[in-house]
């Protein structure tokens, strides 16, 4: 009896000590299978759960379904995407040893086709160590009889293959993440001016005991402190213009993290304008303006802005965009329906670091000399009166020549005026006349027009003016 008891005790002891080694064996985390047979891509939950069940039946410990989705949801990770390090981290936190993931490539009910790629990735190293393409196609038989599976049959066939072939990694002891694994690193902004603060964020995988982490920018070390499990820090770059690698020294090895660009130079910009005429120091615009603008040197541009303002500061025309500007277009002030006056064009280009380049151009805008109003009528005494209305232009009118012809074209008379409005009185018997008006202003704008007015009677003109008398 005693011997039996001792034997039993020993057996119990052996079972008790070896138990943990047997229990902690392969743990497969089954990520939902990505479905590429639909657009946009989705996930095939049914297939994933079937694979999980098949692996469970085989004897592996499987983590899948709600347990996995809850954990993914906690971290704010979509189950639909491709496998990446955050998902590996989730699998690690669930004590997984292998991540199963894959994509469904083809399903054809009519032609009896099914295709699937599966991968096995080690946790937490994130190395994909096994992969296989599973497919089903109808086996060719003589005379092609009795061929083809239904979708469910094909699926079952492939799932059974997976459960037979998927590798198992034994996990005899709990793993530890060696050193520091970086899940996420960011510098914002990546383009700065000297002296502007840069915030740095480093997220490690798992939980680390360290209170601070040191990174380097151009040989200068920056200490990141632990806040809520992540490492954060601020840095004021006192550096010259240029690109500086951001790195970290881990186990004597330089790990390149990102790049910081210091830029104090405003972008080199050009603005070419064609269509102006010069009058002394004034540029004036008689018609269309051809605008040509861009960068002299390549630069990373955030956005640009081209606008034309009037004297009150109201924007008459605006064009803007993101990225490097390439502008070449005609601007027609007549279509813009603007009044005459002084305008200013501004071209502002801002690069990513925040440096601005501003180009300005002031100009006058007026139309060509507008044609004046012209009337011919008879006065009280029976003389013919030629009336020429006023013309409003910013420049002065230097020459005004008027020639009067008979309806058949014989010259009757001509005169030169100094200013407008004006009246010329002469004698004719014609009821209609031809009048040629020629004007030139101080800049050289010219107007030449031939009028063919009818001579109005004294009564008509008086009525037009609003004087109604009894005749």
């Amino acid at each position: 009896m005693k011997i039996k008891k001792i034997k039993l005790f020993f057996l119990f002891a052996i079972w008790f000590f070896l138990f943990p080694f047997f229990t902690v064996n392969a743990q497969i985390v089954v990520f939902p299978i990505r479905d590429l047979t639909t657009f946009p891509p989705g996930i095939d939950l049914k297939l994933s759960s079937e694979i999980a069940v098949a692996l469970k039946n085989r004897g592996s410990i499987v983590i899948s379904g709600d347990k996995l989705y809850e954990k993914l949801g906690e971290k704010g990770i979509f189950a639909t995407g491709r496998l990446n390090i955050p998902k590996i981290t989730v699998a690690y936190e669930l004590n997984g040893a292998t991540a199963l993931w894959g994509t469904k490539i083809e399903v054809d009910k009519k032609k009896h086709l099914y295709g699937l790629v599966l991968f096995a990735t080690s946790i937490p190293e994130g190395k994909t160590f096994w992969s296989k393409v599973f497919y089903y196609q109808p086996e060719e038989r003589f005379l092609d009889i009795g061929n083809g599976f239904s979708i469910k049959e094909m699926q079952n066939y492939i799932v059974s293959q997976i459960s037979a072939l998927f590798p198992e990694r034994m996990m005899l002891q709990e793993k530890k993440v060696s050193g520091l694994h970086i899940e996420h690193f960011s510098i914002t902004p990546r383009y700065v001016r000297t002296g502007e603060p840069v915030s740095i964020l480093l997220k490690p995988t798992g939980k680390l005991a360290r209170q601070e982490v040191v990174i380097h920018v151009d040989g200068k070390s920056i200490v990141l402190r632990k806040i809520d499990g992540d490492y954060e820090g601020l840095y004021l770059p006192r550096l010259k213009d240029g690109k500086y690698p951001v790195y970290m020294i881990l186990n004597g090895k330089k790990i390149y993290l990102d790049e910081l660009t210091v830029d104090n130079k405003p972008p080199a910009v050009y603005l070419e304008l064609k269509g102006f005429k010069k009058f002394g120091k004034i540029d004036y615009l008689p018609g269309k303006l051809f605008i040509n603008a861009g960068l002299k040197e390549p630069d990373s541009i955030l956005h640009w802005n081209l606008m034309i303002e009037n004297e009150d500061g109201d924007v008459v025309f605006k064009k803007f965009g993101y990225g490097a500007p390439i502008l070449s277009f005609n601007w027609n002030p007549l279509k813009a329906n603007i009044s005459q006056g002084i305008y200013e064009m501004k071209f502002i280009v801002t690069d990513i670091a925040g440096n601005k380049a501003v180009l300005k151009k002031r100009f006058y805008y007026f139309y060509d000399i507008p044609a004046p109003k012209l009337k011919i009528y008879r006065d009280e005494k029976g003389n013919t009166v030629l009336f020429i209305g006023e013309v409003k232009i910013p420049t002065e009118i230097e020459k005004i020549k008027i020639m009067v012809y008979s309806p058949k074209g014989y010259p009757i008379g001509k005169s030169e005026l100094n200013s407008l409005p004006a009246e010329i009185t002469f004698k004719t018997k014609y009821n209609g006349l031809k009048v040629r008006v020629f004007m030139e202003d101080s800049i050289g704008n010219k107007l030449e027009k031939i009028y063919e007015p009818k001579v109005k009677s004294y009564k008509d003109i008086m009525e037009e003016r609003g004087w109604v008398e009894d005749f």
């Binding site: 032609k111 086709l113 992969s131």
Partner: protein, 203 residues
């Protein structure tokens, strides 16, 4: 006797017709996997970029092909960067499949992830099995870029159709695109190994 003669004739006819079916219609352009330019390199880690999709009928063709190429490299024992990770890096650096890869991206892959070779490409044709004589068809352009020099190490072209593997009648014909891709990418990896892309041989 008569019936036996008719049977014999029928048998002969089937044989003749069968012979017609087994001879490839276009003997000249049978599928191939070719590597055009090659430079010896020993990448111990590979990053497979998403493939550019030039197929109008299937919007996911690029990702499908990239997945199988990924699988082929994994099966050959090469360490490959996780596809989600490559995608994240691309999004962060604002560039799209089959565009010029920025220098900083290559530098990042080399220094931070130990990647030696970046594989990119585009899917020119991707036709699934359509029944009858329309066998699945693929045309893929693929290229490898060294992260050290930033130059192309190899360029290759995969052209295959389901009936390239025909033995006799319909036997041996590949109808599943997944299988066709699998077979041809396997061929590609073998050819790369032959061409002296070293680390693929190492394990």
């Amino acid at each position: 006797m008569k019936t036996s003669k008719i049977f014999a004739l029928l048998f002969c006819l089937i044989f003749i017709l069968g012979g017609c079916a087994s001879s490839p219609v276009n003997g000249g352009d049978k599928g191939y996997v070719k590597i055009f330019r090659k430079e010896k390199i020993d990448p111990c880690k590979v990053a497979v970029m998403p493939f550019k999709n030039e197929v109008k009928t299937d919007a996911n063709a690029g990702e499908k092909v990239a997945n199988i190429v990924y699988s082929a490299f994994v099966s050959a024992g090469v360490d490959v960067v996780l596809p989600g990770e490559v995608n994240n890096l691309m999004v962060g650096r604002h560039f799209f499949p089959y565009q010029n890869i920025p220098d900083t991206f290559l530098l990042f892959l080399r220094n931070n992830m130990g990647v030696g070779l970046v594989v990119a490409g585009r899917v020119i044709e991707y036709k699934p099995y359509g029944g009858g004589s329309r066998y699945p068809e693929i045309k893929i352009w693929i290229e490898g870029i060294s992260t050290k020099t930033g130059r192309r190490v190899f360029t290759g072209y995969i052209v295959h159709r389901g009936d390239d593997y025909r033995k006799i009648l319909e036997f041996g014909v590949v109808k599943s695109v997944a299988r066709l891709l699998f077979v041809s990418t396997d061929e590609l990896v073998k050819k790369l190994q032959e061409a002296g892309i070293k680390c693929l041989e190492k394990r």
